[in-house]
Amino acid sequence: MITQEQLSQHGLTDSEYQRIVGILKREPSLTELGIFSVMWSEHCSYKSSRVHLRRLPTKGPVVLQGPGENAGIIDIGDGLAVAFKIESHNHPSYIEPFQGAATGVGGILRDIFTMGARPIAAMNSLRFGPLTNPQNRSIMEGVVGGIAFYGNCFGVPTIGGEVAFSSCYSQNPLVNAFALGIFEKDKIFYGRASGVGNPVIYVGAKTGRDGIHGATMASAGFGEDAGAKRPNVQIGDPFMEKLLLEACLEAMHKGLVVGIQDMGAAGLTCSSCEMGARGGTGVELELNTVPQREASMSAYEIMLSESQERMLLVAEKGREKELHDVFHKWGLDAVTVGYVTPDGLLRVKQAGQVKAEIPNTALADEGPVYQRPLKAPSSLPISPIELYPFLDGTDDATIQKFLDGQTSCGDLLKLAVSLPNLCSRQWVWQQYDHMVQSNTMVGPGSDAAVIRVKGTKKALTMTLDGPGFRVAQNPREGAKLMVAEACRNLVCSGGRPLAATNCLNFGNPEHPEVMWQFSEVVDGMTEACTAFGTPITGGNVSFYNETFERDIYPTPVLGVVGIIENLVHVTTSDFKDEADSIVLIETPTRLIGRVDLNEERALQSFVSDAIRAGMVKSAHDISDGGIAVALAEMCYSTLNRPAIGAAVIIPQYMDACKDLFGDYSSRILLTTIHASDLVRRAERSALRCTEIGRVGGNRLILQHNGQLAVDVAIEELESVWRRTLPKLLS
């Protein structure tokens, strides 16, 4: 007899419980209740988001696999395909930053090699509260350390990502991990249990009482009792995962695998019922055969355990021996824990006794779907810093300096590049191995990362973008900006955007304002992704990002993957040679916090063509911090040269501060020796293109309105820019 208390402990509503009874035509056992509760949790069932996600564009000429599998897959030519996805690990990373972030990386890597792809790149998008708060500092140190620990040991290069700070992320950091893998496009594996009678095989780490109810935890906000939820956190074992990767890929190539799925959230439960549902089959498990780390675990605990580094696969009947040999070679055990059955049921036995019997489709596909109420705010917020998002989360005194016009532009520039939202991220990415696998052409710290594809003339380029502040200002327009900027970043690196993945980090879906934000963001993404021809191939939703009733910014994070057809077109943002001309290209309409998709498209194809025509030496997208900060970034020292200066005349529209630091949409800086040609071409495509200065010297000199606005030694500026994070963090 299930009590009210048990229901609320499992986060199930009365009507959901009635559905369960309706499906089973009887009362569920406690084990069955647990199974339903994780599969019908927000995290696994997408019950609040489904109705909206359906609107996303998911089809396109290059898409081989859209949403619905462990990762999306696109065709990159030469018989090759890439699988990629982004996933959040926000709640675990707040409870135990190091292990939470580490296991987040482990989870997304499993999603990739589950499909048969070898992970060749990782990125991450991070949000923290202001670093003036010691707790935020130690969360950041833990998160970055955990990502490095896992990715470095596993052997995937972490080549990019983003970090931003705002007070809404104190006590609710965001940790979104992206991974991309490559394989031959005819060697894709799916999470399907087919072939009645085929053995169901368990590989990887033993099952312990880890993270039981993790999935339901990820579906509830934090309050006073966050501490009480602590035992949920799992320990990551990247070495075990590396062995799993090699063993799984070897077994796949030997043709021993029929279907395979990682055990992520909701562990054995999720993997078995999803594989059964996708295969239109049943799955019968005998829990006594499941490798266990702790004594006398109940069926409930084994089914809901979230121990890491485990995979479930369905093998060819009769070839178990070969499979066991492959795993044994890698020092792993492969244990037969059940069989594929014809009856469509998930049947869980322990010592022969049936503990649960539920239709797979009821768990995987027939979860509740909610059309939650939406409520638009009476008016959109107007922020005094809407031109300067980088000021978000900084102190009022600093903000005033940018607003009251009392401070010289030179001092403002030094201040700007020292702020956490604009300073160098090297403290973060130098802890990541970003070179392993010897493909990294452009690593962290540029507009977009670039890796060559061995055996071809091609390179892949990728970036993550999530302008939380902009989206909070205007969810629909902010989402469009996000897509535009991500694509602009790829274009600046010489690439052509192909497809996207997304992670939607939002507050409490039971707040109508939050669901309105969610719906607006989906519509904005849909419009922009359609415009740029970058379908959404997958992603993840993280709700309940709130502490003490306070929701975070609506923070979608977009990952876009593009192709560079020829390695010679790889372009970086740093200035190359003395005397090169610096050219500013803008869309005719100047917008703040919004983007004109048609004009943006024109801008991007113009720059793409210029790069392909060999007219561009360096390209840099102007974003937060405006033209002054973008120019400074192009000056800093690189592997190939010391810091180099530039002399520039800032085209003037309004007052100096806005022109120098304002975050206007749709602008790109290029360097070239064909300035006049570029200007002529640009006029033809109705873009504003101006030669604004030249590379050279060791100072950054900006003239504005006939006056000397900035004149600073690059080395000084660069050291200010580099110092901030190392000074704040251990």
Partner: protein
């Protein structure tokens, strides 16, 4: 005044290091080793002239707030006159 702080993973928390050590010594011919769990060990020296009470207090605080991650670890203090 000297103390030793021993920090170990909570008994049910997975210890990949210990597990890996155990597995590889098994293959190198020490099958008798049934189980290894790894922890941290700290020798702490308290400055001379600090009162025993204050010293105990300090080591307690150090162990609890610096040396131990309460989410996954537990500690014990051994007072060694050594």
């Amino acid at each position: 005044m000297k103390a030793t702080v021993i920090v170990t993973l909570k008994p049910t928390v997975l210890d990949p290091q210990g597990m890996t050590i155990q597995r590889s010594v098994e293959s190198m011919g020490l099958p008798e080793v049934a189980d290894v769990r790894q922890g941290k060990y700290f020798d702490v020296n308290i400055a001379d002239g600090v009162s025993p009470d204050r010293g105990k207090e300090v080591v307690q605080k150090l162990a609890k707030e610096v040396l131990t991650n309460p989410v996954i670890e537990e500690f014990r203090i051994v007072w060694e006159p050594r």
